[in-house]
């Protein structure tokens, strides 16, 4: 083993890995938030609860239907995404044209209700979820040990982020989405069913959160409060990256995960606050966020 700035390489790379893992979840979650905010103008505080629902759905599908991790990875985003579509039709469509505060309070209340229901049924101690067989074990890279499942989480979330970015920035459907984010009235007057696009976008963003939840289940415990623990950091990530910026959400998510991991090595006392310090600095220098545009 060797040292870097007096830190053993094992510790440094170990924390970097944890940072990248956390960053993967920050990126997936803030990406969904950014897409939803761009299209619906709603700050989706239910996002953490929907991430938690994804983890629980994977756990329940395994317990009661015997569906494994890979099946859950496909089914859960669809199921939880469908619940998001229901939420949009029942509630959000009525508040999204009002001031942000209405959507914020509605989704925050909804998050409390969902979390409360899950705590009532499952308690708050949390349930374990096994790493799938194909991803047990790991590899010794020489300078550190890399568990297979963690490598998969980082790689797969990168792929999901890049595919989402490509779909929004480089495809025809994505151009509808970007245009409707700028001027929904005119896009609708061109013959595009914007209300349906809004509903599907919310379903997609919620599905992304649920996908992150499934991926998180084997790493963190499946517990009712797992969403509220991560969501505050994710909102800081979104603010730093710039509300509504797709690329900003991805880059900032991974970047801040790494910064958080490095802080744990070099100045552990600050590791839980470093993201908020970065947020305060960014807000002072660039109020629209690193990748955002004001107005």
């Amino acid at each position: 083993m060797f040292d870097i700035f007096g830190i053993p390489s094992q510790a440094l790379f170990g924390q970097l890995l944890i940072g990248l893992i956390n960053g993967s979840f920050y990126a997936l979650l803030s990406l969904g938030l950014a897409v939803i905010f761009g299209m619906l103008n709603v700050i989706n505080f239910t996002h953490g609860a929907q991430y938690m629902m994804g983890a629980f759905a994977a756990y329940l599908l395994l317990q009661y239907l015997g569906l494994n991790y890979w099946e859950a990875l496909v089914i859960v985003p669809l199921l939880v995404g469908a619940s998001g579509i229901l939420v949009e039709r029942l509630f959000l469509q009525y508040v999204r044209k009002l001031d942000h505060v209405y959507g914020l309070i509605l989704t925050f209340g909804l998050a409390l209700v969902i979390e409360g229901l899950f705590r009532n049924y499952f308690g708050s101690s949390g349930e374990p979820y096994q790493v799938p067989d194909a991803l047990q074990g790991g590899h010794n890279l020489g300078f550190m040990f890399l568990p297979n499942y963690r490598a998969w989480v980082i790689g797969f979330s990168l792929v999901v982020c890049l595919v989402t970015w490509f779909a929004i920035e480089r495809t025809r459907f994505g151009s509808y989405l970007r245009a409707a984010t700028e001027n929904p009235t005119l896009v609708r007057a061109f013959g595009i069913n914007v209300p349906r696009m809004v509903t599907l976008t919310y379903g997609f963003g919620v599905g992304l959160a649920a996908l992150a939840g499934v991926m998180a289940a084997p790493i963190y415990n499946v517990s009712p409060q797992m969403g509220s623990e991560v969501i505050i950091v994710v909102f800081a990530v979104v603010v730093i990256g710039g509300m509504g910026s797709i690329l900003g959400a991805i880059v900032t998510g991974f970047g801040l995960g790494i910064i958080e991991g490095l802080t744990k090595v070099f100045f552990p006392e600050a590791s839980s606050t470093v993201i908020f310090v970065v947020m305060a600095i960014v807000l002072l220098i660039r109020p629209a966020g690193l990748f955002g545009r004001l107005g």
Partner: protein, 236 residues
Amino acid sequence: MAETPALLTVNELQAWYGESHVLHGVTFEVRAGEVVTLLGRNGVGKTTTLKSIMGIVEQRTGSVRFGGRELIRSPSDAIARAGIAICPEERGIFSSLDVRENLLLPPQVRAGGLDLDRIFALFPNLHERLSSQGTKLSGGEQQMLAIARILRTGARLLLLDEPTEGLAPVIVQQIGRTIGALKEQGFTILLVEQNFQFAATIADRYYVIEHGRVVDQLSNTELKSNMNKLHDYLGV
């Protein structure tokens, strides 16, 4: 002209922005193949008339019949699919889309739209700037893009809201020639114009709007003998 059936019949159209009652019963018609211009001072309801036909202003009553179909209760996406397209006053070019994406944004609603080759023949500038950001174009180019993108869709009736506003005379002439060419290709055009000199070069008929109502109509041949009356209406 009189034997051609009306493509668009607007009857007693009223419209509101929230509490504010803007149109008080607009009645007129546009026949297939015509270029009709709505004239009037600022704020009399010309733009609101176009937006109400298109369904962008949702609080509206009366009747808007297009090709025999009643559209007054339809949402704007359904109206677009019926074959009406709008080029808004503010042009509505999307900054997050490049020129090509802006051009291809409105979906085809029926057969018979212009293909890209014919569009580039009308607007050669656009062809050279396809990968520029939409809002990086000059004002004249943005106006051409705003017109060009609704020609592909197969819409038969084009609503053009002040297409010459704020543009240099040479660009205004080019847009005038374009509208003439579109008329020859069979498009029906409903135009809102402040620039009466410009409208006089391309329109078949005129409706004068005051206080949210149509108060007069003229054909192109009646124009010269009614100049004084028109100057009164328009306050020029």
